[in-house]
Symmetry: C2
Subunit: 286 residues, 2 copies
């Protein structure tokens, strides 16, 4: 993801000074491609850039890159702007902001509701959270990355909204798998069923993106089942804090957890069909 | 529903000979409007018409109108075509067909995936199940009622497909209510949230039809919560027969059951927001 964003920004005329990845070989290959440096340490990244995009996988990684020690991105960070693009918890976004402010830097969250292809061609959907000034400073870059760039509120708000979006998307995906799974078990033609779904109240965005893949068992990963489990889990944690019961999201999360436990976490979210359809031979213990 | 279908067919030049309703006053008012008869008995309806549309509320009503006794539509039914438009179980459709065949009549199921307005203006979505001959005989009438008329298979197939469609629609509706309910509890602007949903993987047909109503608590009935509970229940019964577990549909059904038990069954299906949002003051026992 980060690599495609970097490629896109370079295409748009921005100067890329450094790239970093925990797998150093990857960073070096990308640095060669982009004609920039691939520093061995995070503080060096901060030294080389005015604006730093971060795309990490979870809260633990955010904690690490925005740590308090010598290896943190925040060493020598005065005046820098960090744009955090991973879907992590609102708390992690707030933690990063607090520590960045203490270091004289600013942060903006820019959550992406799209995938690799959209990063490469600059058609991401970006939900941003953070102070107005950070938003305005980031805007020229973000507008090259996203076809829609929306400022939804203060720090943490974009993460919260993204989690709500993904919670609903995951539930719709699980519901679609159940509908197609039942139709298959009843001997129906799934191509016809999908056409009917598309014309009726069963229509959804995930029907367009995942319906055919569920039918054909093509689960190449755009958004993994493991991520779906994580995001629905984070959303449900928010719900518990406000004492809200969400039984459909809970049932959905359980299905994605089953996939992860059964070793299917790296399949695309459409792979939920594999644990729903009953002729798919995936036997998982609950 | 039946009344609007009758009005539409009359507008299209078909001769309406009789209308019937368990509430006789209703039938008489409609008969006056359409200039036809309103017989006191079902056999009289059959006597007066070549093609008879039935739109009843459940399996029990199907059992009654296609009964074996003297009060049945099947008395003197030789040569008649019955077009059954209610969403009932596949078993009820097959029962009606078997008994009609024994009486020398034919049946076709024509399940509707749309509502009152569409019936009136001839833009219904019709899924039909039954023999080819019945389909061809019904087609000139159905094409005036529906913008899409689809022959999906033999008797029972349309009912099965309609139940699968409604099961997915109901689950998407429950998921939408959970997403908006969580967003509301987190203090988000729901108009903005709905806009973001519409642009992302959370988009769905029910977002378009029910999202704003959930936000504004407008639950005027197009498709009742009681019907949603019934249809999801029938779909889950089919699933049990083929030993398929559908946890999301099950959680959805439970929510609609709670509405029915709490006296909210006559609200539109969007009313599920009333039992999901936590500030709506609807206290229901589980």
């Amino acid at each position: 993801m980060g690599a495609n964003m970097a490629r896109r920004l370079k295409d748009c005329g921005f100067r890329m000074t450094a790239v970093y990845d925990v797998e150093r070989r990857r960073a070096m290959a990308l640095a060669r491609e982009l004609g920039c440096e691939a520093p061995r340490s995070l503080p060096k990244v901060t030294e080389l850039a005015d604006v730093i995009f971060t795309v990490v996988s979870d809260d633990a990684a955010m904690e690490e890159i925005f740590g308090r020690g010598e290896k943190s991105l925040l060493v020598g960070a005065e005046g820098r702007l960090f744009i955090n693009c991973a879907t992590v918890s609102p708390d992690a976004q707030s933690m990063a902001e607090d520590r960045a402010l203490a270091a004289g830097a600013a942060t903006l969250e820019a959550c992406m509701a799209s995938s690799l292809t959209q990063a490469r061609d600059g058609s991401l959907y970006l939900m941003c959270g953070g102070p107005e000034e950070a938003m305005e400073r980031a805007r020229p870059l973000l507008e090259q990355l996203g076809k829609i760039v929306r400022h939804v509120g203060g720090t943490g708000e974009a993460a919260r909204l993204k989690l709500v979006v993904n919670m609903v998307m995951n539930a719709n995906t699980a519901a679609l798998a159940e509908g197609l799974g039942l139709a298959a078990a009843l001997g129906m033609n799934l191509t016809m069923v999908r056409e009917v779904f598309a014309e009726t109240g069963a229509a959804s965005r995930v029907l367009q993106t995942d319906g055919e893949d569920m039918q054909n068992r093509e689960h190449e990963c755009y958004f993994s089942a493991a991520h779906a489990a994580k995001d629905s889990g984070l959303a449900l944690r928010l719900a518990r804090r406000v004492r809200l019961e969400l039984p459909v999201a809970t049932a959905t999360k359980r299905q994605y957890d089953r996939m992860v436990k059964g070793g299917l976490g790296q399949l695309d979210k459409s792979g939920i069909a594999e644990v729903t359809f009953h002729d798919r031979g995936v036997v998982l213990h609950r």
